[in-house]
């Protein structure tokens, strides 16, 4: 042990031993002290060595005082107390004499015991899961923002992405159809979602090209319908793209020949679809949409086509949206519209035509509103306060055939969708907070004062189609030709045929016949989800089913012409395949119960996340073991590990 480097162990000098002995009141000889020192060194080494195994088994790299104490305890030595603190203990030396010691502060136990500032316990231990690596390739951030580097994708995915976008935005309608179909059913494109969303957000740059806009909207639809995709916070981005198509005065609409109306209708339809199927992913979305629609509507500077979009959008969001936003706004808005409609100058022809579109849209919306309100309020005997004989039949038809949806619709919708609660809770602080429900008769009379007979007729007898059409475009005129059925009322005065087309945009919540999908669609989309429904609580699902079936029968009883129209519209080449299926029950329940099982589902919006930007939100992973608030059943399902791999 002569060399320095050989002194690998800390050694206790005999002087130290002597000092210690002195402090214990024992006098030691040099010889004894030397031997003792050596022995102490050895024992210390031994204890250090055996304490290392406690460290190893605790899976740590750092040897703690606790480890050392355990080793001491197991070798029947008293443990050393007072060194367990995390922070380092200052080691002091006394100037006279070579004495080093750890400073021990006096602690007033009474004070400590009576102290009121008891530290709060540290955060609870919890387990958090995240997907580290997908398919063993690269660090995966499935919910990252807009693509920064496309090359980080695997070659196959990249190729797929290129092919799909090329096909959809290209010229070949057949290719596009195939691409959309695949987009709708492909289960492996989760990683591409941000890229597609990015592409879709390009709507703003192609506002002059209706065709492209249309294609992009179709892309949205396919993504929304893909059951394997978890849209998460991308819903927001998608919605804003769709809203753009609904509300903005598109460059394409400068040319009156461009049928941007259809685009808006379609977008509105899509909006309602997204909202009803994915609205739960982003809290506050409903209100944001309503607010922006309201803003557009109340802005007189905006062109009429924007107003039209707002009306159609509101209509798409359901009769309650109409009741709360459109209806209170109507008196103010009416004046403007009236002015436009009453201007017969030639220069105004185009604007007036637009005005008629808006008028029609409003008419359809308020009609639905009245009808739904009647259904929600009226019960058999007293009937609706409208007094027209024809309406009774219609109302009865609804009542009888669709018992599940009309009497109290609110609890129903709440249970099924959690939407009503959105409306009420979020309503606080919103502009329509002071809104008070208007009684049906009042509402009717007010509306009647605006629309006159045209309202009454349509309200009571169902759809009727006038022949008066200020601006016709091919599709609608075509539809109109098929339209006039037995139910149409020829004596309506201010009828606008375009309106009938808008009937398609029907909110799902109110259970109108329009929400019913064409049968083939039900087969496609419903099949996958019916299972899910079966596993859900039976009561809700039975309601769902009864509702869907009853509403279908309600459709039949409601009148022929209504059937005809959607068909005419859906089959029109412009709008593509009829795929707006009835998804309330299936989709929603499906997602709640089984969860969207791929990885992305780990991102559950359990916390109030509205304030967090999407990017940050993407990193908010669900946390097991710590429940801040009662988590709804379906949020939990998101971290199910039964991944379909």
């Amino acid at each position: 042990m002569a060399e320095r480097e050989e002194r690998r162990f800390a050694e206790v000098s005999r002087e130290s031993v002597k000092l210690m002995a002195e402090s214990a009141g024992v006098e030691l000889g040099d010889d004894v002290a030397a031997r003792l020192a050596e022995d102490v060194c050895y024992r210390l080494r031994e204890a250090a060595q055996s304490s290392s195994q406690f460290m190893r088994h605790a899976k740590r790299r750092k040897l703690t005082v606790e480890d050392f104490n355990r080793a001491l305890r197991w070798s029947n030595v008293e443990a050393v107390c007072g060194y367990g603190a995390q922070d380092t203990l200052p080691f002091r030396s006394v100037k006279e004499g070579e004495l080093f010691f750890v400073e021990d502060r006096d602690i007033n136990l009474v004070e400590l015991a009576l102290a009121t500032n008891i530290p709060k316990g540290c955060a609870e231990t919890m387990v958090r899961v995240n997907v580290s690596y997908l398919d063993g390739k690269g660090n995966l951030e499935p919910q990252g923002t807009v693509p920064t580097a496309v090359q980080s994708l695997s070659d196959d995915l990249l190729k797929y992405y290129q092919q799909i976008t090329r096909a959809i935005l290209g010229d070949d309608p057949h290719l596009m159809k195939v691409a959309l179909l695949d987009l709708q059913s492909n289960s492996k494109i989760a990683a591409l979602l941000p890229y597609f969303v990015y592409v879709i957000s390009g709507v703003k740059s192609v506002s002059h090209d209706l065709e492209q806009l249309n294609r992009l909207l179709h892309m949205v639809k396919s993504l929304v319908q893909n059951p394997y995709l978890y849209l998460g916070s991308y819903v927001r981005s998608l919605v804003s793209s769709v809203m753009y198509c609904i509300l903005e005065p598109l460059a394409a609409s400068i040319n009156p020949l461009n049928d941007h109306w259809t685009l808006r209708d379609y977008a509105a339809l899509l909006l309602s679809h997204i909202f009803w199927t994915h609205g739960d992913l982003v809290s506050g979305l409903y209100h944001q949409i309503l607010l922006s629609l309201q803003k557009v509507l109340s802005d007189p500077v905006r062109p009429l086509c924007s107003h039209y979009g707002a009306v159609v959008g509101l209509h798409a969001l359901g009769w309650k949206a109409v009741e709360r936003v459109l209806f209170p706004h109507l008196p103010a808005y009416w004046a403007n519209l009236q002015a436009v409609l009453d201007d017969y100058s030639v220069s105004n022809a185009q604007v007036k035509a637009d005005g008629h579109k808006v008028y029609g849209a409003i008419l359809v919306a308020v009609e639905r509103l009245l009808k739904m309100k009647t259904l929600s309020l009226s019960q058999p005997a007293e009937g609706a306060p409208k007094g027209h004989s024809g309406s009774v039949a219609g109302a009865v038809g609804y009542r009888v055939s669709s018992p599940g949806l009309s009497p109290p619709p609110e609890p129903l919708s709440e249970a099924a969708l959690g939407i009503a609660s959105h409306l009420q809770v979020g309503g606080a602080g919103c502009p329509w907070e002071e809104w008070t429900p208007v009684s049906l008769p009042d509402m009717y009379s007010e509306l009647y004062s605006f629309f006159g007979d045209s309202l009454a007729v349509r309200f009571s007898t169902g759809p009727g189609f006038g022949s008066y059409s200020p601006c016709t475009h091919p599709q609608l005129s075509e539809a109109r030709k098929e339209a006039p059925g037995p139910a149409s009322n020829p004596d309506t005065t201010r009828k606008m045929p375009q309106l009938t087309a808008n009937l398609n945009i029907s909110p799902r919540q109110d259970g109108s016949p329009r929400t019913d999908p064409p049968p083939p669609c039900l087969a496609v989309t419903g099949s996958g989800r019916s299972l899910a429904r079966s596993s859900s609580s039976s009561s809700t699902s039975s309601v769902q089913r009864s509702r869907s079936s009853s509403s279908r029968s309600g459709q039949r009883s409601a009148g022929l012409s209504r059937d005809v129209f959607p068909k005419a519209r859906f089959t029109s080449p412009q709008t593509g395949p009829a795929v707006f299926s009835f998804l309330i029950g299936g989709r929603q329940m499906g997602r709640r119960c089984q969860g969207r099982r791929p990885f992305q589902t780990t991102f559950a919006p359990s916390a109030p996340l509205a304030a967090i930007p999407p990017r940050a939100y993407a990193h908010k992973l669900p946390v097991i073991g710590r429940v801040g608030k009662p988590v709804r059943r379906w949020t939990c399902s998101h971290y199910s590990l039964h991944l379909p791999l």
Binding site: H57, T125, D135
Partner: protein
């Protein structure tokens, strides 16, 4: 019952020891020559040798009895005597006889006798302490043994000459032909240690220090840990109670040397009259001589590193039934309420052939499988069958992994685990995760939406309609639903944790020396299994439930059944702590890893050690059986994963790459991928199929156990995946082959 088994184990051990001399005789006559005079002091010893095993056995028994009597374990004495069929007085008579013989013999022989007795006694201590309720293993009990053990060093040589001897041998070995040099170099380390210890024992402290300083640098780097312990040891008094030292003394260091090399060494030593070294070799080393080519340095290095040298070849000769048990046939319910069934009409029809194929596969009896009832296994309950059906269903959705198709990895991070996460386990169906913590708690989380619920109280249970179909649902108390539960009961860090296959129980082993069985229905402790008396490092349920194995600081692994409060088997033989334990998929074998750097495989039926695998250079902390039961993977603090063929008892692969302790190993469900998780914050995936494919199994290799391992770790490494400063302490493949990893985030 337990005592009897302890005795059985013991007897087996003794047999194993006794095979040594006979095999020696076959292997090298010279060694036998050296041994003969020492082992035949009187006529009685010679007689016993001629009279084959039975009297020898009896002597062993007597020794045991004497020991027991000395410790006032009269009950155990009675039991043992009854079992062995010894007459009451035989003990006294023969005991006196034996002691008389011992005292009559020469001083040197007394030493040898002492060694034998002490080794017997030291083996007895563990079983007796567990088997009988009374005694506990205390240092005091060890003391007499230690004395006899150490007395073997009493022979005196001139301390000044030790260096000369050693350097003389060193010079000789350096000059021999290259092919022999590597083999003979193996002698250095054990010689060095024993010479050093002799010096220390004889109070030549300064010579010992000088000796150590001069030659410790020559030793292989993988003995560094032991050398560190040795270097601290400079006093005779310290030798007492030093475990490393005792290990060295109680077991012979095993070397494998080819006959040619051995002859060379022997000739050299005899020419030089180097008795000092020759004596050490005779007494403290076991040289396993084989015919054939001397091994290369690489081959030797691959196998050495353990505390007591390599495994003897005989140790790995026993037959191991590594095949899987036949799966019980379970009728798949015909009215399959499968979710997809109602949509695709083709599905139900497809199911049938699939089921048949599954059935036929399992019908074939694997020739390597143990018979179905080799060890009694619990019968399947209805719920188990349901689970099996679920498993099969899941299995059909399993992803086929391979080098091109790597698993996705989900990482479960434990956050705010300030108290220290020490163990993790997943249930087989990945529905629950449990963590053992250094603050003595066990926490269970549900990783599915299904919350954890307790069973209702007895009073409430009485009201329940027991005939109803959903009675299992009704007994649960909805009010107690939560996502995690904490189990309190241990009084020390929880080092091992294991779910029962049926997910109704949880085992936890702790530093407090107990293993606790928890109910996951009531979330209470059901049993505390006491027996280890020292920290229990690991525990695991058998894949068939009911049995479990534990291993701890007391150097033994124990087999338990949940309904016995005492162990059914005690697996003793490791020279240091048993750090990890694992059940073979067929539940007939148990593998244990130890800080003596060996992995052993034990037969559950007989309690025998059937395999000893050496090659690791550090304590083993992770073990994994391949799903087909053929292979074993072990990971250690040296950062290497070694792969073993259980049937042949061979090392078949070495996976280098990790830079820190490997705490977790797991094969994918089909065995294509081996995942390893380490303290170095990585998960690595290895191509297990390829590793086992490349295996050359010609007869020579199998017979000698000399493998040529090519260094192909880099080819086999399929991927390295970094965590965010989280050591990976557990890995689990879901039934669909998704890889789950767990660890505590260390900011």
């Amino acid at each position: 019952m337990a005592a009897v088994q302890g005795g059985l184990v013991d007897a087996e051990e003794e047999k194993a020891i006794k095979t040594e001399p006979s095999s020696d005789g076959g292997g090298n006559n010279n060694a036998n020559d050296g041994r003969l005079p020492s082992t035949s002091p009187g006529a009685s010893a010679a007689a016993s040798k001629n009279a084959a095993a039975s009297p020898e056995d009896q002597q062993t028994l007597l020794a045991v009895l004497q020991f027991l009597r000395k410790n006032n374990l009269s009950e155990s004495v009675d039991i043992l005597r009854r079992e062995a069929g010894l007459p009451e007085d035989s003990l006294d008579a023969k005991g006196a006889d034996a002691s008389g013989g011992g005292s009559g013999g020469a001083a040197g022989t007394a030493g040898v006798d002492g060694v034998d007795a002490s080794s017997i006694l030291s083996r007895v201590t563990a079983p007796s302490s567990a088997g009988t309720p009374a005694p506990t293993k205390t240092p005091a009990e060890n003391q007499p043994d230690v004395n006899v053990v150490l007395s073997a060093y009493s022979q005196q040589g001139d301390p000044a000459l030790y260096e000369t001897y050693y350097s003389g041998l060193k010079r000789f070995i350096e000059t021999v032909l290259d092919c022999h040099r590597a083999e003979l170099s193996q002698v250095f380390y054990p010689l060095f240690v024993h010479m050093y210890l002799e010096l220390v024992y004889n109070n030549h402290e300064n010579e010992a220090k000088a000796f150590f300083q001069k030659f410790s640098g020559d030793q292989e780097c993988y003995y560094e840990d032991d050398l560190r312990v040795l270097s601290g040891l400079t006093k005779k008094e310290h030798m007492r109670g030093n475990e490393t030292l005792l290990d060295f003394r109680t077991s012979k260091f095993v070397l494998r040397i080819s006959r040619d090399s051995y002859q060379l060494l022997k000739r050299h030593l005899q020419e030089r009259q180097n008795n000092q070294i020759w004596n050490i070799i005779q007494e403290h080393l076991y040289i396993d001589i084989f015919d054939g080519m001397p091994r290369s340095k690489g081959q030797i290095d691959a196998m050495s590193g353990s505390l007591a040298g390599e495994a003897k070849r005989e140790a790995n000769k026993a037959k191991v039934y590594y095949g899987l048990l036949k799966e019980p046939e379970i009728e798949l319910p015909l009215d399959d309420e499968d979710e997809e069934a109602e949509n695709e009409e083709g599905k139900p029809k497809k199911k049938k052939p699939k089921k048949d194929s599954m059935g036929s596969k399992s019908k074939k009896q694997d020739p390597n499988a143990p018979s179905q009832n080799r060890i009694p296994l619990p019968e399947l309950k209805d719920s188990d069958k349901l689970d099996k059906i679920m498993y099969m269903k899941e299995a059909t959705k399993k992803i086929r992994l391979g080098p091109e198709n790597l698993p996705s990895i989900c990482f479960y991070s434990f956050l705010n685990a300030y108290q220290g996460l020490t163990a993790v386990d997943f249930t087989d169906d990945s529905s629950l995760i449990a963590g053992g913590f250094a603050d003595s708690t066990v926490r269970v989380w549900s990783v599915t939406p299904k919350k954890l619920r307790k069973v209702k109280s007895a009073a409430d249970l009485n009201v329940i309609d027991k005939e109803s179909d959903d009675v299992l649902e009704r007994i649960m108390d909805e009010k107690t639903a939560s996502e995690s539960k904490i189990l309190y009961g241990h009084s020390g860090p929880v080092y091992g944790i294991s779910f029962s296959p049926d997910r109704n129980y949880l085992l936890s082993s702790s530093e407090d020396g107990t293993i606790r069985l928890w109910s996951l229905l009531t979330f209470t402790c059901l049993v505390g299994y006491k027996g280890h008396n020292y920290p229990v490092w690991d525990t695991q349920f058998s894949p068939h439930g009911y049995y479990f194995v534990s291993g701890g600081h007391d150097r033994v692994a124990r087999l338990w059944a949940t309904d016995h409060y005492q162990p059914l088997r005690i697996f003793s033989g490791h020279l240091a702590d048993v750090t990890c334990t694992r059940f073979h998929p067929n539940s007939n074998y148990v593998a244990t890893g130890s800080s003596d750097r060996t992995t052993r495989v034990w037969d559950v039926l007989t309690g025998n050690c059937v395999r000893i695998f050496t090659g690791h250079k550090g304590p083993i902390h992770a073990l994994a059986f391949s799903p087909n039961g053929k292979f074993l993977a072990s990971g250690a603090t040296d950062g290497r994963v070694l792969l073993w063929d259980i049937g042949h008892g061979l090392m078949v692969g070495e996976l280098k790459g990790h830079t820190d302790t490997i705490y977790s190993l797991r094969f994918s469900r089909d065995g294509e991928i081996l995942a390893s998780g380490s303290m170095d914050n990585t998960v690595r995936l290895w191509d297990a199929l390829k590793a086992f494919d490349d295996l050359e199994t010609d007869d020579f290799t199998a017979a000698t156990g000399h493998i040529h391992l090519q260094d192909n770790s880099q080819e086999l490494l399929l991927g390295t995946y970094l965590t965010k400063s989280t050591p990976v302490i557990h890995l689990h493949f879901t039934r669909r082959n998704l890889l789950l990893a767990a660890g505590a985030y260390n900011p």
